[in-house]
Symmetry: C2
Subunit: 143 residues, 2 copies
DNA sequence: ATTGAAATTGATAAATCGTCTCAAGAAGAT
DNA sequence: ATCTTCTTGAGACGATTTATCAATTTCAAT
C-alpha cells in the first residue's frame, strides 16, 4: 500500500536494531519526507497539520533527527534554520551556496565521488554518505 | 608592531569607504582572528577575555560580520554555530568521519578541489570556501 | 485478547545562538 | 578642544531547537 516500501523497511530495520518502535507518526512523517527533496521541520509541521492537527512540532524534530541516524536524511544548517535533505532514494546531490543571496544550486559529479572513494579507501574507510558544500558568490552577486 | 599589516590596511580601506571607525576592539579582534583558520564568536570571546575582560560578545559578532563584509572572513553555518573562516588562510582540509567510533581523519586533495572549481565555474559561481565531509566506517569499526 | 514494561507523544518550558536597543563612551574631522 | 557621528557593552529580545514529563501507545509475553 505505501509507496516507499524500501525506505520503510530501512527505517524498521533501524528501529529494530535500537529497540525503538514503529509508530503512526513516524510512518506519517516518513511518507511526507520521502516526497520532498529537502524540507525544514517547520514546513513539515504546517504541511502535516491537515492530516493530523495534533502532531507536535517536537515530534517532527525528533523524527527527522531519527531519520538522520537511520541514514535516510541528512541535516544541513543554513541561515537560522535546519534543512533535512532526503538522501535515501535519489542520487546524493551536493550544493553550491551563494553566501550573498542564499541561492542554492544542486549538482552531482561522478568524478568527485570517485576521488572521494579513493581517499576513503586509502585511509581504510568505507563511505556510507557524504556532504559537499561549496560556498561563494553566484554570478549576479559578484556584480 | 602588528603582524598582519596587509589585512589591517584592507580593513582600514573598507572602514574608510563606509564612514566607519578604526577602534581598539576591531584591531584586537582582527589580530586574534588572523591567527586562526576558523573560529566561532564564542571561542573568540573566551580567548580574548584574558586580554580584555570587558569586551562584549555582541561586539565580537558585529566585528566578525564586519570582516565578512570587508572580505576578510567568510561565515559558514556548522552544526548549530557559525564558523568564521579566515579567507587569507589557504590550506583548507577536509574530513573523513567514522560514524561508529567518531574518529576523524583530515585530508587534502588537490584533484577534488580542482573539480570543485570546475563545477563552480560551470554554474557561474566563485568559490570562497567549501566543506567536504565523508561519513562511513573506519577499518576497525567495519568488523 | 489481555497484560505490562518500555518507548513515544504532545504541550510547553528551557536552552541556544545571534541580533537589536540604547545610554555612555570613543574616534576623528574641524 | 569641540562637536558630530560611530561604537561599545550590557542585557533584552526573537527565532530555532531540545529537554521535561505525565499520559498514551506499542509490542512482546502471556
Amino acid at each position: 500500500m505505501p509507496k516507499h516500501v524500501k525506505e520503510i523497511e530501512a527505517l524498521k530495520a533501524h528501529l529494530g536494531k535500537h529497540q525503538l518502535k514503529y509508530t503512526r507518526q513516524r510512518e506519517l512523517i516518513l511518507e511526507a519526507f520521502l516526497q520532498q527533496e529537502h524540507i525544514t521541520a517547520e514546513e513539515m509541521y504546517h504541511q502535516l497539520a491537515k492530516k493530523d492537527p495534533h502532531l507536535g512540532l517536537a515530534t517532527i524534530y525528533r523524527t527527522l533527527n531519527l531519520f538522520c541516524e537511520a541514514d535516510l536524511a541528512q541535516a544541513r544548517h543554513f541561515g537560522t534554520q535546519t534543512q533535512y535533505d532526503n538522501i535515501s532514494h535519489k542520487g546524493h546531490h551536493d550544493h553550491l551556496i551563494c553566501t550573498d543571496c542564499h541561492k542554492i544550486v544542486e549538482f552531482e559529479n561522478c568524478e568527485i565521488e570517485k576521488l572521494q572513494e579513493e581517499v576513503a579507501t586509502r585511509n581504510g574507510f568505507t563511505i556510507t554518505t557524504h556532504r559537499l558544500e561549496l560556498y561563494g558568490l553566484c554570478s549576479r552577486c559578484r556584480h
